[in-house]
Subunit: 334 residues, 2 copies
């Protein structure tokens, strides 16, 4: 162990780890990058927060997806940014609606691979439209690719960053979904001309990321364990997903619509509008069944009712029982 | 390994680790606290940044010590806080001067145990004066106790937080100096009525601290290794300090004044005012000798010239040679 390993490091992270991540992203996600553009962060939440601090001033308008991720909204509100909720349809964020609501937004935060929470994959047309807007208006796009490693029915989709010829995209990835959340380890891919600004801001936030995890994970990835782990888990999650979707169809028939099951570790189910998803989720929680009410992920008035169902941590054999408990609880609450 | 160990945790940190730290601080630093007030952070820099975000709005005035720590100043400037440099004398921050410059500052950031960089210990009278100001004006005091574990000539000094009867002090400690910086591990002690606000802000910054280091360090401290390590290192650092002070007196006589050698892992040497400390430091750096120019730690016009000399990472046997190289370089530059 060298002294430099124990000492303060580069605010961007260890060079060795950044090289490994850049190589992985070029192959797996068609991200255009080299190691100099990678910044190691404490999970995607720190990535979102640093983007907000570097790219925005108090009062600046920002597009976020509606429905969307509550901790992104909380970070932007807390920093005094002006949040513009833009509706999402089955092609992703509705760019035309965004242009009507606020054409001069400075940043758009999006989840193109697997929209959170509805699970749609952003269409190619919508991706090009979003990139064209950013290029024309000088805005930035933050692509949160939190859930991209697991696709079940098709080849992985190229990242938005990989389509961008004008360096308008900041890409965020995380190890929380592929390894475990308490690692607190993720990364940004930063356009080359913004790297110095990001590094300066990161330095005053917490100087640099912790060293030990970076060294271990660099080794883990370089030796092929990470790719093997993802292949193995994709099979496992695919089984859980298939059982979950099948159980919901068995028990609820056409009553529930299923959304976003082509990728990731959660699906959304849309219930009839007269179901009280918050009440049902509260009742389920008292019986140790965790259903996230979909309506709480919306900011605007067009709130769909339903549940966000994570299946990453549940054995396939336990799923049918959980779904029938969900059905009993829903029936009691109606 | 339980699932909960791998999952997202409490934004304040793991309860087990917080209990161990609270017990340590009550004994070693006379801090008044229980585990519920402890927040685990990524080193003292994240502690400073979180304090700035919770306690201050853009444009709010803040007292900082002059001379002082450049990364604190950078964090406050970057967040748009109004920095008021308050001079330091041999009793610590000059509260009377602060009251003249800006009586309605919202926060004072101070280093009472070992002022950075001059190394003075804040006097009891000054501590009481600072606490009285905070209580009267409703201001907060952030006590950065970065270097408190190593005192050489006297018993440890009670923390400012331990003297405070009105919960106006946020205390910051770090493992960077006692273990190693690339751990990125420190802690805050938060007044009980501010805990919820701190937790909410921390959650949007990076959700929670990484779990593994906390579990390892909780064990390390509880089993007595940490206290033993500090006792052992205090002897080692005391030897290095004694050799450094002796070598400077031997080689420079009364030309250099030594400041702050009663505690910590650095001393400050004050040179005659006509020495160009930045030029000498630049020349020394080309010969692999690291002298931090003291004048760059000042914001106001009354800049003393000199060097901040860290001795934590240098073997005692190498010190006399390093001091004579310093003398040769200084002579060449004059």
């Amino acid at each position: 162990v060298h002294t430099c390993f124990l000492n303060y490091g580069d605010p961007m992270g260890s060079w060795e780890f950044r090289e490994v991540i850049a190589a992985y992203l070029r192959t797996a996600r068609a991200v255009r990058c080299d190691a100099g553009q990678i910044m190691i962060v404490s999970g995607s939440q720190q990535g979102l927060d640093i983007c907000s601090r570097v790219l925005l001033n108090p009062g600046d308008p920002v597009w976020i997806e509606d429905p969307g991720y509550s901790l992104l909204r909380a970070a932007l509100n807390q920093a005094g940014r002006r949040v513009i909720p833009v509706p999402v349809d089955d092609e992703g964020i509705d760019v035309a609606a965004g242009l009507k609501l606020c054409p001069n937004a400075k940043v758009a935060f999006v989840t193109p691979s697997h929209q959170y929470p509805l699970g749609f994959t952003m269409s190619a047309a919508r991706r090009l439209q979003l990139l064209a807007w950013a290029q024309a208006s000088g805005a930035w796009i933050v692509e949160d690719d939190y859930d991209s490693e697991y696709r079940y029915d098709s080849m992985p989709i190229v990242s938005l960053q990989g389509l961008d010829l004008n360096s308008r995209v900041i890409y965020i990835g995380t190890f929380s979904k592929t390894l475990f959340p308490s690692l607190r380890l993720g990364y940004l891919v930063i356009p080359p001309d913004l790297v110095d600004r990001f590094a300066a801001v990161r330095r005053v936030i917490d100087v640099c990321p912790p060293q030990l995890y970076q060294a271990v994970l660099a080794d883990f990835i370089r030796k092929g364990h990470y790719a093997r782990h993802i292949r193995k888990m994709r099979l496992l999650y695919n089984e859980r997903r298939t059982v979950l979707v099948g159980s919901i169809q068995d028990q609820f028939g056409s009553l529930l619509e299923i959304s976003g099951d082509a990728a990731g570790m959660h699906i959304a189910t849309i219930t009839p509008q007269d179901w009280d998803d918050r009440e049902i989720a509260a009742r389920a929680a008292r019986r140790n069944l965790w259903l996230w009410p979909l309506s709480t992920a919306y900011l605007g008035d067009n709130r769909q009712k339903g549940f966000i169902l994570g299946f990453g941590g549940v054995a396939a054999s336990d799923i049918p029982q959980a779904v029938s408990l969900m059905r009993r609880v829903a029936r009691e609450a109606l």
